[in-house]
Amino acid sequence: MNKISEIFKNKKCLITYLTAGDPSLDKTEEFIVSLAKNGADLIEIGIPFSDPVAEGEVIQNAMARALSENIGLDDIFNMVSSVVKKISVPLAFMTYLNPLLTYGYDKFFKRCKETGIEAIIVPDMPFEEQDEIKEFTGKYGVTIITLIAPTSLERIEKLAKNAEGFIYLVSSLGVTGTRSEITTDINSIVSKIKQITDVPVAVGFGISTGKQAKDMTESADGAIIGSAIVKIIAEHKENAAAKIAGFVSEVKTAVNGSRRR
């Protein structure tokens, strides 16, 4: 079984996101520890990009703040090498392709393996373009996370069949960001996916409360929370660790309360 899939064994998972370097890499490291100690089962680290087309304002602004500190991938890998010694939950990168292409795919995924990055989520790489990096993810054992959207329809079968680790089910149309209501019929998409594969399904985009996370994990195996955490960081900046801890443990408790599979 894939290492990432293992975290979903016998439990509903909480996946959390934050942007590397917002407000600084030292703080990112501290926040990752806080997320891990308070119930995150997997942590997505966003690599900042100047023009993130799949992100809403909250994550766009976080990436802009991180880039104003002029951090590069080497700095991010150094932070990862340090933080993995303090936590045991798996880490994934969320990144657009261009910074990787520039850094060099081979070097990038080699360093992922060396530092302990298990998976990669690439919002501007649909299934049809996975050839771009597959040679290298295969070589270094990094899992490509497949995204499925409410608009995927007849594509679901092809996507689910080829998925590994977990499936990132995009809850809503549009970009990342908190939403007061999620109107997509998540249950029916999840059950469609479940007919095709055993790979766990986690729902993301728009989830900002324990209640929403609990609702999503009634049918799905996990909930992904990004913008809500990034908002806390934007508001409390270097003092955000305690607030993050409180928020994540509350959401985790809610997720634990969902019906088991």
Partner: protein
């Protein structure tokens, strides 16, 4: 795995999963309608009776004599309805949107040429239109904002990033993911994910086709060079496309060098960029050593984009087309030259191409011919050029 929409290593479909079905649906619809007699007849009527095609191929005799070399012809896309080549593409795409049952089109715009054209086509064909325009550009080109509103379009000032064309494009893509079912993103240039570069090129290729037949009629031979300005590259691709197989015809694209390719204030992608992945395509982009897209600069808002269409990148790679940088100062010089010698005020974008034609014409023989595509008219630029020259026109 699919290799569709690739131009050598360039092109592709680097977009969020949410948009994949939309581009597949568009590809299928376009695949059908491009061979549909009724669609093509309707489009031809729109081109001819509404937009004023075919555009004239004008022999610039005064300019030719002044320069004393090759004969210079001007392809007058500036005489089209709405004042630029942009109308060709929007009529095609908006008609396609209507055939696909879409209710709404969205578009990005820099200076406002594409936005105005999109608003025009939407008004004509009865679709809703929303245009994304960098906040900076809405202030610099407030007249165009009003024109779009007059045509019934809603203009969204984009406040993210550098607040210019690149950010307007990102925001239009984001909007498409928000509302994809009833909306077509009418992209303004030969860029973005497949099938957009192909669709926009096909609708613009009327330029090169007309040049070919018009020049054959006037000169009895093909041109020695065709020259066009390149931002994303739609008028250039439209100009070049029919000549790609004619190996003796030089294809020359003029990029906006801004204050010079050795300064950071430039938009010359081929001269200063590297291969990257952005806005749905692999192509050349102006970027930092860390792969961040950089804000670019040109006096011309229409060429102020950090990338170039993937087919241009391919034509550059295989050395079929040549891309040359032209600075602000050189473009302004050509803007004045053409105004005074021919009584034609070109768009500052097109003036980049005029500059290069004027540069190489004297080195060519008198029986050789150059065709320059005048992509648009320069009325929109008059105030800006006055400001550039320090003339107070009390606007």
């Amino acid at each position: 795995m699919s290799k569709k929409g690739k131009y050598g290593i360039h092109g592709g479909q680097y977009i969020p999963e949410t948009l994949m079905n939309a581009v597949n649906e568009l590809e299928k619809a376009y695949g059908y309608y491009k061979n549909d007699k009724i669609f093509n007849a309707e489009l031809e009527t729109l081109f001819n009776d509404y937009a004023g095609r075919p555009s004239r191929l004008y022999y610039a005799e005064n300019l030719t004599e002044k320069l004393g070399g090759a004969k210079i012809y001007l392809k007058r896309e500036d005489l089209n309805h709405t004042g630029s080549h942009k109308i060709n593409n929007v009529l095609g795409q908006t008609l396609l949107a209507k055939k696909m049952g879409k209710k709404r089109i969205i578009a990005e715009t820099g200076a406002g040429q594409h936005g105005v054209a999109a608003a025009t086509a939407a008004a004509l064909l009865g679709l809703e239109c929303e245009v994304f325009m960098g906040e900076e550009d809405t202030q610099r080109q407030s007249l165009n904002v009003f024109r779009m509103q007059l045509l019934g379009a809603k203009v969204h000032p984009v406040k993210s990033g550098a607040k210019t064309l690149k950010d307007a494009t990102s925001e239009a893509m984001r909007e498409w993911t928000r509302r994809v079912d009833d909306t077509l993103y009418v992209i303004g240039s030969v860029m973005g994910p497949h099938p957009f570069p192909e669709i926009v090129r096909d609708f613009q290729s009327v330029i090169g086709k007309e040049i070919k037949s018009q020049l054959l009629e006037k000169e009895g031979k093909l041109p020695d060079a065709v020259i066009a300005c390149v931002g994303g590259g739609s008028n250039a691709m439209g100009t070049f496309y029919d000549f790609i197989g004619d190996k003796n015809v030089k294809l020359i694209g003029c990029e906006a060098a801004g204050k010079g390719v050795d300064t950071p204030e430039t938009a010359a992608t081929i001269a200063t960029g590297r291969t990257g992945i952005f806005h749905g395509m692999k192509s050349y982009f102006c970027q930092t050593v860390n792969g961040q897209i950089v804000p670019v600069y040109s006096i011309s808002a229409g060429l102020d984009y950090p990338g170039i269409g993937p087919e241009h990148s391919y034509l550059h790679d295989i050395k079929r087309a040549e891309y040359v940088p032209v600075t602000d100062a050189q473009a302004v010089e050509a803007f004045e030259l053409l105004s005074r010698t021919e009584g034609i005020i070109p768009a500052i974008e097109s003036a980049h191409a005029v500059y290069y034609a004027a540069k190489i014409a004297p080195e060519m023989k008198k029986d050789e011919t150059i065709v320059v595509t005048l992509s648009g008219r320069g009325d929109k630029d008059a105030a800006m050029i006055a400001k550039y020259k320090g003339v107070n026109i009390n606007e």
